[in-house]
């Protein structure tokens, strides 16, 4: 029972190794067959599996893949969040009660003026938030395909939409507690994308030097 387990672990170690080091999986498998004691073979095979994971973690392609798709996933998640917000805004426009609007209506005359401005601006804000979600999806699509120029255009478009949405909202209710949600995805992309590309470029140059 232990021997087949050791062989399965070795096979899995081979599977985890990066493509250019797959041959080392055969080396590990062959070596494990030479171990007389079954228990020792399993322990050795577990070590081989760890070696496979270590090599995978050091592999440039794997690291780049994880970084690249993490940025795409975060961008898509935030795009869906904006689209969800826009959907909720649409429901309000179609008659669903809006607690903030109702609270403003119950307030002072100044609050009622704010409520009127808020009500008038709802369609444009909803459109902008929806547009922002779509822009993020477009940016995620271009970044997923590593079409960087198109990604930058989508990012700039999303920035303009965000600025417009935030300015309109602040002109109605000046309430700036921390970073507006519209800028979160943009800032993540602004930091993560150049960092990923610089790191990737550095690794390429390093490998060319060797």
């Amino acid at each position: 029972m232990m021997r087949p387990l050791a062989m399965i672990l070795c096979e899995f170690a081979r599977f985890t190794l990066p493509k250019k080091r797959k041959a080392w999986g055969d080396v590990m498998k062959a070596e494990t067959k030479y171990i007389g004691d079954d228990r020792a073979a399993v322990i050795y095979a577990v070590g081989c599996l760890f070696a496979g994971f270590k090599e995978r973690a050091k592999d440039f392609r794997t690291c780049f893949f994880i970084g690249h798709w993490s940025v795409v996933a975060i961008t898509v998640a935030l795009a869906l969040y904006h689209i969800h917000c826009a959907w909720r805004g649409m429901l309000v426009m179609w008659g669903k009660p809006d607690p903030l609007y109702e609270a403003l209506l119950r307030g002072s005359s100044a609050d009622r003026m704010v409520a009127a401005a808020y009500h008038d601006a709802t369609p444009i804000i909803v459109s902008l938030i929806f547009g922002l979600g779509v822009m993020h999806l477009v940016a995620a699509y271009f970044f997923a395909r590593l079409q960087l120029q198109n990604f930058v255009y989508a990012w700039i478009a999303a920035l303009l939409v965000s600025v417009l949405a935030v300015v309109i909202q602040l002109s109605i209710i000046w309430n700036l507690n921390g970073l507006p949600a519209e800028f979160v995805a943009l800032i993540i992309q602004l930091l993560a994308v150049p960092a990923l590309l610089l790191w990737s470029n550095g690794r390429h140059r390093h490998s060319e030097q060797l």
Partner: protein
Amino acid sequence: MKRRRKLSKQAVKLLQAFLAQRVEWRHGYDLAKEIGLQSGTLYPLLIRLTEGGLLESEWQPAAKQGLPARHAYRLTQKGLAVAHANNKNAPQQSGAQGLASI
């Protein structure tokens, strides 16, 4: 200019094991047992030392029927020089040699 990295303790230990029997071909499991390294540490080192040109490797025919060919390693001239430079028993040389490519 190539970057020189200091060898890890485990790499030095491994090179010393090779240095002790410099002309013989060595096998992974025997090395692991001899120097007390887990295979999870041994193989990444063997990979790097082989790719760095410090070790040469070959597939040797099966010792017994029913067993596969076995991978064996030994020091190259470059590996020998690095192993000597990092030999703690030898007189200390200025600027212990490291690996340029590891």
